[in-house]
């Protein structure tokens, strides 16, 4: 929403308020100032009076003008704009004027052999919005025109242009008038009264050529119709200038006047060509249908000419050439409009932006403002008695409890002040000043006000948030350390451990590229549960894994020249049923160390062993079982399921060489685990024996096709209370072993009751060996 200080002053006296103060006030009452521009003209740019204008003897397109520039001084100026022949008062840049916009210093020149002492300017050449094709033609709307007077001295033009960013609820401030009303509450001063009586009325009453009929229940809307007989329509320079400032300038003068009035008053006006509506007949009959009680359809002779507030039929719209105009002002509650548009699809016109946020329901002001605007330089006759159609509106009354209101704000504001603010904002208040509760009738333009909290906001922004004293927390304390906090802290520790093992934390989108997910055969979210409006193609599905995103990150890092890429992410993935599952996903690619003095810049490449080692330092103890991946992203023979406490919680794998080639990355290892399963769990300890234990190693021959986990699995079901734990310490193969390899397992034996004798130790080890021979077919090496 753009306003200017001068424009606001048509509605409220701001002569004692500086622009700086005005901006400060806007910010504090919730009308955020987006930008401020002070209009200034270069020096030596003055009003010129064109006395004579002749064709240039050598060039058809040029005109040689004699221009009075004050005190009887007449300069010859050659002008290229065609419209100079119609002009009397123009803007002249005199010799020595500097025009930064077109990077030019005005000098006396010869144009095709004719002397020219200055330049007649278009607004665009002065850094202002473009008005007219050609030079600017001034008129008295900007003030008394005096040849030679610097443009800088015209206060109407040297205005402060303030752009306000409005929040969605403040449709009432989408007009200069509405903004002025807010200022009137802030400054506690009245709005200027808005009265205007047209110069001339039509002789005939409008009912002789126009009939308006309405059918259906008619609520939420009101309309006002009138007829204008046009001699000619002209828009003043100031009107054009202001409409150009708000970015709405068009070359049709009727349209410029309408736009100016709509922006000024907030009343929605439409002008229809009466003769087009008449279609050769004598009269125009307008039918208003309100079938659903929400939107009014305006019809004429079977044709829809508009849906009030939403759409108008361009065919019937009037232009400055129209001889007779049907003028319509309308208002519909934004609620009705939003509901109707939500339900049925309408073609929407530019007014929808305004009407859906709420426009001015005081339609008469719109008419008066248009008469006033046109009457300046046009000759028009208006119908004396407009036709008014008004539906029923529910009057909104908010019960304001002052105690409640003050508690919402957290500060005490007295009833008198509350009353005066509300009245300035257009509320009518009931009840005496001594009562704690009173009723406030909400004005039609404040459809956003529904309850005492809405009223509290109005009071708060006018008295100023700054005046509210901050109130410290003082509440009944309860223990709020819930499981979410505990989990959050555990995850934070996990992240810190990963960081401590030289991994960088990444955050990637929870979306993935469907084609890649498919290509690598991940189980994806069911199509009917997936995103229906993805933003780009490579983020078009809810990811089933973080790994693909991390590999893409690796790929990018490699392309930036990174040789060691270690990343992890804690984030959500989605399964087939679109259940959200939190994962810890980690990737290590290229080197497993940075190039430093420690490795003389010959760092080790990532290996499964070192990757698993780091992983163990981060997530704690786990078991890996050799497995075959379903997804083609992983190396078929370096893929293991990860188990914690016997539960399958994820995988650890090398990336398939083909995928490494596709992502253009070196050898890469990944792991992804269910976050919830790797967070610390409650532990119960077993008794600690005070007796010495012994370590005993067994070297066993197992077939090459067999794995360590087949042995460890078997050992899990072996019962011997002395066997406390065991772990693999060596794996060996050579040709002498044939199809076998040797596995060395170290056992720790300990008794809770006494020191173990050699006999008992030997007996236990033999027992273990016998068991493994029987269950796994191993041989002692």
């Amino acid at each position: 929403m753009i306003v200017t200080k001068g424009w606001l002053e048509e509605f409220i006296d701001l002569s004692d308020i500086t622009t700086e103060k005005l901006c400060q006030v806007f910010n504090s009452i919730g009308l955020e100032v987006d930008s401020l521009k002070e209009i200034k003209f270069p020096d030596k740019v003055v009003v010129g009076e064109v006395l004579r204008c002749e064709k240039h003897p050598e060039a058809d397109r040029l005109n040689v003008c004699q221009v009075h520039i004050g005190n009887g001084d007449v300069k010859q100026i050659v002008c290229g704009a065609g419209n100079v022949v119609d002009a009397r008062f123009v803007i002249v840049a005199l010799e020595g004027a500097v025009l930064p916009e077109i990077d030019m210093t005005i000098e006396a020149v010869k144009l095709r052999g004719v002397d020219s002492f200055g330049m007649i300017c278009a607004t665009g050449e002065l850094g202002l919005p473009k008005i007219e094709d050609g030079i600017a033609i001034l008129d008295s709307s900007i003030g008394k025109l005096v040849a030679g007077k610097e443009l800088n001295e015209y206060k109407t033009l040297c205005d402060s242009v303030i752009e306000i960013e409005l929040t969605a609820n403040r449709g009432d401030c989408l007009s200069v008038y509405g903004v002025a009303r807010d200022l009137s509450a802030y400054f506690n001063r009245p709005l200027k009264s808005f009265e205007y009586k047209p110069k001339k009325f039509m002789v005939q009453g409008i009912a002789r050529t126009l009939s308006v009929r309405s059918t259906g229940t008619f609520k939420n809307s009101k309309l006002l119709f009138n007829i204008i007989e046009v001699g000619n329509i002209k828009a003043s320079f100031l009107t054009k200038f202001r409409v150009a400032l708000i970015g709405k300038y068009v070359s049709d003068d009727l349209e410029v006047n309408l736009r100016c009035v709509i922006h000024s008053t907030g009343v929605i006006l439409r002008a229809y060509d009466f003769d087009r509506l008449k279609r050769g007949g004598k009269r125009v009959s307008i039918e208003l249908n309100s079938n659903n009680g929400e939107i009014v359809e305006v019809k004429s002779d079977g044709d829809t000419i508009s849906y009030v507030g939403i759409y108008s039929n361009n065919f019937f719209l009037a232009t400055q050439k129209s001889k007779k105009i049907l003028l319509e002002a309308s208002y519909t509650t934004p609620d009705a409009i939003l509901k109707a548009v939500h339900r049925d699809s309408f073609d929407l016109d530019d007014f929808y932006y305004l009407t859906s946020r709420g426009t001015n329901s005081d339609l008469n002001i719109g008419f008066l403002a248009l008469y006033k605007c046109c009457d300046q330089f046009s000759s028009c006759l208006y119908g004396e008695l407009p036709i008014r159609i008004e539906g029923t509106f529910t009057k909104k009354v908010v019960n304001v409890d002052i105690k409640k209101l003050n508690s919402i704000i957290g500060m005490s504001v007295d009833r008198k002040r509350i009353n005066s603010i509300l009245n300035r904002l257009g509320f009518r208040t009931h009840g005496s000043n001594s009562q704690d509760v009173f009723g406030a009738v909400v004005p039609a333009w404040r459809h956003d006000i529904e309850n005492v909290q809405d009223v509290a906001e109005e009071i708060m922004r006018v008295v100023g948030i700054d005046t509210i004293p901050p109130k410290p927390l003082s509440l009944i304390e309860t223990n709020r350390l819930n499981p979410t906090i505990a989990k959050y802290r555990a995850v934070r520790d996990l992240r810190d451990r990963a960081i401590g093992r030289d991994f960088f934390e990444a955050i990637t989108y929870i979306f993935s590229d469907k084609s890649k997910v498919k290509k690598y055969r991940f189980e994806m979210v069911e199509d009917e549960l997936d995103v229906s409006n993805p933003i780009v193609d490579d983020l078009n599905t809810l990811r089933p894994t973080i790994v693909i995103n991390l590999l893409e990150a690796v790929s990018k890092n490699v392309s930036y020249g990174k040789k060691k890429v270690s990343l992890f992410e804690v984030g959500a993935v989605f399964d087939r049923e679109r259940e959200e599952i939190l994962k810890f996903s980690i990737v290590e690619s290229g080197f497993s160390q940075e190039s430093t003095i420690l490795n003389r810049a010959k760092p080790q490449k990532v290996k499964f062993a070192t990757f698993a080692q780091k992983l163990s330092a981060i997530v704690g103890e786990f078991e890996i079982k050799n497995s075959t991946p379903k997804e083609s992203l992983f190396h078929p023979y370096q893929y293991g399921r990860v188990f914690v406490d016997g539960k399958d919680i994820g995988f650890i794998a090398k990336i398939h060489p083909k995928a490494e080639e596709y992502f253009d990355i070196g050898e890469t290892f990944v792991a992804e685990m269910n976050l919830n399963d790797i967070l610390p769990k409650h532990k119960n300890i077993s008794t600690i024996s005070n007796f010495q234990g012994v370590y005993k190693d067994l070297s066993l021959l197992i077939p090459k096709s067999s794995t360590y986990s087949s042995l460890s699995n078997a050992l899990k079901s072996y019962k011997n209370s002395l066997m406390k734990h065991y772990f693999i310490i060596d794996l060996y193969e050579d040709s002498s072993l044939g199809d076998n390899r040797s596995v060395t397992i170290r056992f720790f034996l300990q008794s809770d009751d006494g020191t173990l004798s050699d006999g008992v130790i030997d007996e236990s080890m033999q027992g273990i060996l016998d068991y493994l021979q029987k269950s796994c077919g191993v041989k002692l090496r």
């Binding site: 919730g30 955020e32 929040t167 969605a168 609820n169 403040r170 609620d335 939500h342 859906s356 508690s407 919402i408 704000i409 957290g410 500060m411 909290q453 509290a456 906001e457 708060m460 948030i465 509210i468 901050p470 109130k471 410290p472 927390l473 509440l475 309860t478 709020r480 819930n482 979410t484 959050y488 992240r495 810190d496 990963a498 960081i499 030289d502 960088f504 934390e505 990444a506 955050i507 990637t508 989108y509 929870i510 979306f511 009917e528 549960l529 995103v531 229906s532 409006n533 933003i535 780009v536 991390l550 990150a553 690796v554 890092n557 890429v565 270690s566 959500a572 959200e580 940075e594 003095i597």
Partner: protein
Amino acid sequence: LENLKEKIINCSSLKDLERVRVEIFGKKGLLSQEFAKLKDIPPAEKREFAKSLNIKKTNLLEIFEERLNSLKEMELQKILESEKIDLSIYSSLRERGATHPVKEIMDKIIDYFVALNFSVEEGPMVEDDFHNFEALNLPKYHPARDMQDTFYLKDGMLLRTHTSPVQIRTMMSQKPPIRMIAPGAVFRRDYDLTHTPMFHQIEGLVVENGDVVGFASLKWILRDFLRYIFGDVEVRFRPSFFPFTEPSAEVDISCIFCEGEGCRVCSQTGWLEVLGCGVVDPNVFKAVGYRDVSGYAFGLGIERFAMLLHKIPDLRSLFGGDIRLLEQFR
């Protein structure tokens, strides 16, 4: 014996000294030889002879000990010197990764509110219309509900556009008083220098029974919070509009780059907008079935905080696992 003293002092190594010790103090050493003479000394002189010899021995031992210590010290010094290494080469070993700046700020914010006894709550990313919009006073036809901004799923669900639905879920599953924050990822269909389809928010909500809290409470806590995060800044509240709060405000801090003088980051205004807040709208309480309560809520974008605090120019750079950025937080 006088030259024995010289001999000890002239020893230049522990080895020499050991040799001299044997020569002087050994079983067959010079002193033993002197003491052996005792048996040939007439008894009357014996006592005197023994006494002077003992004194000599004590003197020599003292000199020896002294020399021994100083030689030991010299030897150790040599060893130490030989062990000298250039420690400075072990600078920059880069053995550590780094926390993601967004998570770092999120952690910092959570720390603050947990210290003020707020609970941390969470909710699903896939939400329904009721929790994400309807219950937050955003009916279907509401203009603030921009359809273009929302990621919809084919079964009519959506990806939450803010963390506010967690407020609704928490209020519906708990009873007041409530004091909570909800950190998490949120999603909007937007992609440019300052917008990414996913980003993170922290939502705060306080609900008390009766007319207890209001805008003044909000002012206190947010001012304190922003000064905890940004240091000694000025905090400004501007009236604004959110469907789920009334009154609502946007909160600015004095620009941390130009200290309010006006610069490019703050668009010459001297202020940076950092969060939104307000007194909970009665329609929200109605939607969750609360009566006779008062409350306030606030919400902030964590990426915005991270960008301001770390001067990160492009929001998108936070989401690619780009180590060139991340390693700067090592």
